[in-house]
């Protein structure tokens, strides 16, 4: 009986981590509501409230909130969720904190798909679809190559890097042949990332991919912990390591490709957010996945708010994440390291 009581007391220890996780997971909700107020046309909180939940409000305001701002804000949040969660999962299974969601060439593949779609003049829906398929194709190729050469972690990362550079060269090739006045600027802007002109039609498939990927990875949360051990250790503990790793890669690729197909190339989120989340709630994926999701959504939403309101024209997201995010997190992590925790 004594042992039982002790066990119960110890398992309740992660309460603090659970609390922080809950806070981070809920963080996007107030931010989403607050972001609805922001925009070129000022709206009062009561107008936003009335548009969302019914009430007296002008048709223009209602359309602005429901048809323009809400889909964009949701898309930004979901892109943040996808990049951060897939980054956390990839860092875990590749057993390397410097890996990120684009490690298998997903964003280069997506860029190629998008660039081709633009050259062949398909509409925005076509660009999104082709980007998504291009992302899957690149990751699929990387996995095939990696498996053909033994399937170890290092080989997979290496084939991801190779596929990534190959597809980047293909993107350059497409740019070279693209119409320099109409198509080339479009491709260039897509490559710098951004979530302008998102419609509900674009948000829906993203939401489906996000739910599938996040739920799938969350179900595997304890197995993900075990996959951070060496392959021999995980095998000796009874895990079908290769098969599990494949599932995780498939889910992570789905998340990344869906995000990138909406937002274009957005760097950095999939690398740093999981780090920040791990510093706050520890390496257990039970907490790490929801914490990364909340933090990723919140941070991407903040950046997208800046992107759409700071200047008269849209600022590309990738520029913002790099220019603001990198210095901020550099300072945060230097402090963390100096206090003796952090990067291990």
């Amino acid at each position: 009986m004594r042992a039982k009581g002790r066990g119960a007391e110890r398992t309740s220890w992660p309460l603090r981590r659970a609390g922080i996780t809950l806070l981070l997971g809920l963080l996007p909700l107030p931010l989403i509501l607050g972001s609805l107020l922001l925009g070129r046309k000022g709206l009062s909180p009561s107008e936003v409230w009335a548009s969302l939940f019914g009430g007296e409000v002008s048709e223009t305001a209602r359309a602005l909130v429901l048809r323009v701002r809400l889909p964009r804000i949701l898309a930004a949040s979901l892109v943040g969720v996808n990049l951060a969660v897939s980054g956390a999962a990839f860092q875990g299974i590749f057993r390397n904190p410097l890996v990120e969601s684009r490690i298998l060439g997903v964003s280069s593949g997506a860029a190629l798909g998008a660039a081709l779609a633009m050259v062949f003049r398909s509409g925005p829906a076509g660009v999104q679809t082709c980007a998504f398929l291009g992302g899957l194709l690149a990751a699929g190729l990387a996995i095939l190559l990696g498996t053909a050469f033994g399937g170890g972690i290092l080989v997979l990362v290496l084939s991801g890097v190779l596929v990534s550079s190959f597809f980047s060269s293909l993107v350059s090739l497409v740019k070279y042949f693209a119409d320099p006045y109409v198509q080339l600027p479009g491709i260039t802007f897509w490559l710098m990332g951004g979530i302008s002109s998102v419609l509900w039609r674009d948000v829906m498939p993203l939401a489906v991919a996000s739910s599938l990927g996040v739920v799938g990875l969350f179900l595997l949360r304890w197995r993900l912990n075990l996959l951070t051990l060496s392959e021999a250790e995980a095998q000796a503990l009874g895990l079908p390591v290769r098969r599990l790793r494949f599932f995780v890669i498939a889910l992570g690729t789905l998340l990344t490709a869906a995000a990138v197909s909406v937002s274009g190339v957005v760097g950095w989120i999939g690398l740093i957010v999981p780090h920040a989340a791990r510093a706050l709630v520890g390496p257990d994926h039970l907490f790490l996945i929801p914490a990364s999701a909340g933090l990723g959504a919140a941070i991407l939403l903040l950046f997208d708010n800046i992107a759409r309101t700071a200047l008269p024209t849209e600022i590309p997201l990738d520029i913002l994440t790099g220019l603001i995010g990198v210095p901020v997190f550099f300072v945060l992590f230097m402090r963390q390291i100096r206090r003796g925790g952090g990067w291990k």
Binding site: A3, K4, R6, G7, A8, R10, T11, W13, G92, R95, N96, P97, L219, L220, R221, W222, R223, N225, L226, T228, L229, S230, A232, E233, Q235, A236, L237, G238, L239, P240, L244, R278, G282, P283, D284, L286, K344
Partner: protein
């Protein structure tokens, strides 16, 4: 009821055998020590016995059934393997690392439950690490990491336990604590295979010894038979002396000219 590797040969590079025609058997309730110079194939043999490596020749029989025919999960329920060092890039706490040993008993979408945590704490207490259970494993000393891994192997509750150098990096008290804890577990029916570089561990706690040289069996049998001064010299290439007291306790020391 035994774990039997018969006629095992293994090569990492085709043609270069690191194990050649090794036969080894451990029964439930006994400890077998594997000795041999660095690079003689001890770790590879352990990895073949738990199914992590597939030998090019020979079979491993687990209580009469072919080990490699079982699923990875079934294997892990029957054979626990404790490598030399934990390899994780992330700072899991000691208790989290030990409860990983419950993996074969937890479903793919599940998490360790109360019973699993109890086993983990019991194993931690057995190796004397219960005071460090919430420290990140990355902050532990080498010896403490070993103890945590051994606890993980014990928490796995497999009838066979394979230990890679359980007494390395430990102070004499911890060596004794770990090896006598394992000896107690064998009294409850556990079969243990442990590699060691300390022949005296085998004399004190072992029931059987397998002495390897360059991937081949040099000697097999009881510790007293297999660890003679001549065989040890053949295995390690330096002269040894065996000292004994009237009660029959023996110790093995390198022969030193003074």
């Amino acid at each position: 009821m035994s774990l039997l590797g018969s006629n095992l040969s293994f090569a990492y590079v085709p043609g270069h055998y690191v194990l050649s025609e090794i036969t080894v058997e451990v029964e439930r309730g006994e400890i077998l020590f594997l000795l041999g110079a660095n690079g003689s194939g001890k770790t590879t043999l352990l990895e073949c016995l738990c199914g992590v490596r597939v030998p090019q020749q020979g079979t491993v029989l687990l209580d009469g059934r072919e080990l490699l025919r079982l699923s990875a999960r079934d294997r892990a329920k029957h054979v626990a393997y404790v490598p030399q060092f934990p390899e994780t890039a992330f700072p899991y706490t000691v208790e989290e690392m030990v409860v990983f040993g419950r993996a074969p008993h937890v479903g793919p979408f599940g998490r360790p439950g109360r019973r699993d945590w109890e086993r983990a704490y019991r194993a931690l207490a057995l190796v004397g690490l219960d005071g460090l259970s919430r420290r990140p494993i990355t902050t532990l000393s080498g010896g403490e990491k070993r103890l945590a891994l051994i606890a993980r192997g014990i928490a796995q509750e497999a009838p066979y336990l394979l230990l890679d150098e359980p007494d390395a990096h430990l102070d004499p008290a911890n060596q004794h604590r770990v090896l006598s804890a394992i000896a107690n577990l064998t009294n409850e029916g556990l079969g243990v295979v442990a590699t060691t570089h300390n022949p005296n561990s085998a004399l004190l706690y072992g029931k059987k010894v397998l002495l390897l040289r360059a991937g081949r069996t040099l000697a097999a049998g009881s510790p007293n038979e297999a660890l003679s001064a001549e065989l040890l010299q053949e295995a390690y290439g330096i002269p040894f002396q065996i000292v004994g007291d009237p009660i029959g306790l023996r110790a093995i020391l390198p022969r030193v000219e003074r």
